[in-house]
């Protein structure tokens, strides 16, 4: 299958190994990955902060970039970016009166998947042949859980990873407190939520906290390193891309 990678602005700029892992993983599974280079962002930050007019050119850039590319399905290693593609882009276009862009955004959204959806629903794989010998706990991100309804697909994938010691995260479904610009605008509440999330993560004695969204991991990881907890955050894609030869996001790095 010819799969277009939506790198996501945050992983492109801050966590390139997450995108490289998606490429490695999908190629290992025998697929062709393409990267439409003019892509930047899905527009979610602008939408969720209330700047819908400013989101429009960002959405247009995304839609036009992927329209020009040739692929079967698109994938992003992010529940929230795919949530934005599916639930916000057409709304942004429609609100500005651009019905044509809205329709094209919807067409694109119809073949855009979050990583665990792509693997389990589209490609039909659970065991991706990964090896990851660490104690790991999984935080289901809000948008993957409640916007995309990925359910336990990420957990199915993780359970099939060789060598993994997967431990359940208590109160897993509660938000980590990131919320995009919420983390700045309501820094105090955001931090209070993060403190509770971190205490749950620490209660598992895991070495690694994983999730399907770099943004939530940026938040959780930012707190875990600040407090020198020694617990690392690693994206789901990095774990699934790991093999005996190449362990991504290795704890020793």
């Amino acid at each position: 299958m010819r799969i277009a990678l939506i790198a996501t602005c945050i992983a492109d700029a801050l966590f390139p190994d997450v995108d490289r892992s998606v490429v490695r993983l999908l190629e290992r599974l025998g697929h062709r990955v393409v990267f439409p280079t003019e892509q930047v962002c899905c527009g979610q930050m602008h939408v969720n902060t209330g700047y819908l007019a400013e989101a429009l050119p960002v959405v247009r850039q995304h839609v036009e970039t992927f329209e020009r590319a040739e692929f079967d399905v698109a994938v992003a290693p992010s529940g929230s970016c795919v949530g934005s593609v599916r639930h916000q882009q057409a709304m942004v276009a429609r609100r500005s009166g651009d019905e044509s862009l809205a329709g094209r955004a919807e067409e694109l959204a119809g073949r855009t998947y979050e990583l665990s959806e792509l693997l389990v629903d589209v490609l039909g794989v659970i065991d991706v042949g990964a090896y990851y010998p660490h104690r790991v706990t999984y935080h289901p991100t809000c948008h993957s859980l409640r916007m995309l309804r990925v359910g336990d697909k990420p957990l199915q994938l993780l359970r099939a990873v060789e060598g993994i010691d997967l431990v359940e995260l208590p109160d897993a479904q509660s938000c980590c407190g990131f919320g995009g610009t919420f983390a700045l605008k309501n820094s105090d509440v955001s931090t209070a939520m993060l403190a509770d999330k971190m205490s749950r993560v620490l209660s598992t004695s895991a070495e690694v906290c994983t999730a399907g969204d770099s943004s939530c991991l940026l938040h959780i990881g930012g707190g875990l390193t600040r407090l020198r907890t020694g617990v690392r955050t690693v994206h789901l894609a990095q774990i699934l891309a790991s093999t005996r030869d190449e362990v991504a996001g290795s704890v020793t790095v």
Binding site: A4, A7, A11, D12, A13, L14, F15, P16, D17, D19, R20, R24, E27, F35, P36, T37, V40, C41, H46, T49, G50, Y51, E54, P57, V58, R60, Q61, R68, A69, E70, F71, R95, C142, H143, R146, M147, S174, C175, F178, G179, G180, F182, A183, L184, K185, N186, S187, V189, T191, A192, M193, S214, G222, G223, T225, R226, V234, H235, D245, V253
Partner: protein, 522 residues
Amino acid sequence: MTTFLGVPTRRLAGPDDEDPLRGSRPFPAAAADAVRDPVLRRNLRRATTTIRAKREHVVSEVADWEDLRDTGSAVKADVMARLPELLEQLESAVTARGGVVHWAADAAEANAIVTDLIRRTGADEVIKVKSMATQEIGLNEHLAEQGIAAIETDLAELIVQLAGDKPSHILVPAIHRGRAEIRQIFLERMADVPPALTDEPRVLAMAAREHLRRKFLSAKVAVSGANFAIAETGTLAVVESEGNGRMCLTLPETLITVMGIEKLLPSFGDLEVFLQLLPRSSTGERMNPYTSLWTGVTPGDGPQEFHLVLLDNGRTNALADSLGRTALHCIRCSACLNVCPVYERAGGHAYGSVYPGPIGAVLTPQLTGLTGGHDVNATLPYASTLCGACFDACPVKIDIPSMLVELRGRAVDAGRGGVPDGWAAAMKAASWVMSGERRWSVAETASRAGRLVAGRRGRISRLPFPLSRWTRSRDLPAPPAETFRQWWARTRGDDDAGPDAGNPPIAGTPAPRPAADGGDRP
């Protein structure tokens, strides 16, 4: 005499906000104080955790819960679409059964109508059933100014009222108080308090019961709200747990009910749906202990005079708005408050409105309208991470996250035209950068300066305002030596997405190794 009651000694009076729908401070500032209050945090955590578990349990045992939610949502959508016609139907049905219907455009009108009705009975004391509508119009405060004492008979409302405090939850108004504080409030403020009062819940409840019993038996007038009104029959419904409502609705000679115009249901049969949805969603009970239904006046039985005050107070503004009108579907169950991670930390007072939590964040700004970018209510739509838990819990499926986003858009639009603030400037700049791949790449390269700030640990722990709001409690990773798009260009150079792109890699072969440092850490 002073009694030493030990810690905690928090203010009993609560916030000073005068307007029931608009606080004096923006949400972030009020919430920042709230998260530092250990008693509040513990009470909220305990109470919301318990009620969440109860709700989840009783909802999971209803096989057709999702169908019930769909039906509830559809019935409410129908009500909003036909509201003028249904309200007239309700008015004729209530009138035909001996009740009197009054129409109030706003809080001032409603307060004046109720005051006048009480005056005509000669009473200077009324008993009250817990009601959001009368809180919304500040009825108790208004009556006090007019020399009429309004006595709350719901236990938690009584606690809040005695303390001179404000409710902080739609269903559990004293959720922010612990039992030691409640004992202190009773000892200081309840005239007939038993001297040997302990902080045992049963002892506290019995003291309140004794206190209220005398009021129930002497009151000539009661004021209530309503959970539902049936347009077809003119029947009003109040559901409650303590039996205080039943006494208020049956014992006095005159009953005055203040109800928001959106509380209508078309027919009696619709109660079947809502009496399943409401108790399970609100108190986490299969059925609430007391459901009182009454239709007009029944000679020789119950109040012989019944007045229904129909309150608009901003509701028709919301109704005129295709998105906003779904906020009027709300049946005040408070499930969204109990599942909201922001409410759980900030508590109800931080919202500055009698409607706190997720539904308050969408309802309050719509009822008041926004007076510009500096209106404190413009901060309410931002009091959410958009985690979506409220939407999942709502028994009538109000899409609160989408409404929050829309209201954020309106708050931003309302502030346009003046001098752009920091956010507006940053968002405009980001929009320009993010709508062109070259500009984005340049920005990525520039951000690499962060590697110097980060130093050997690879983490950034201090940045200037406004990013200091992040780094005060969280690190940021140093930007990587190579972005993903640079890695792609370096390793796959010509292999873009074009149809004539370079040779595909052979399936099964390992991809090129990542950049040498491999040091990016999510």
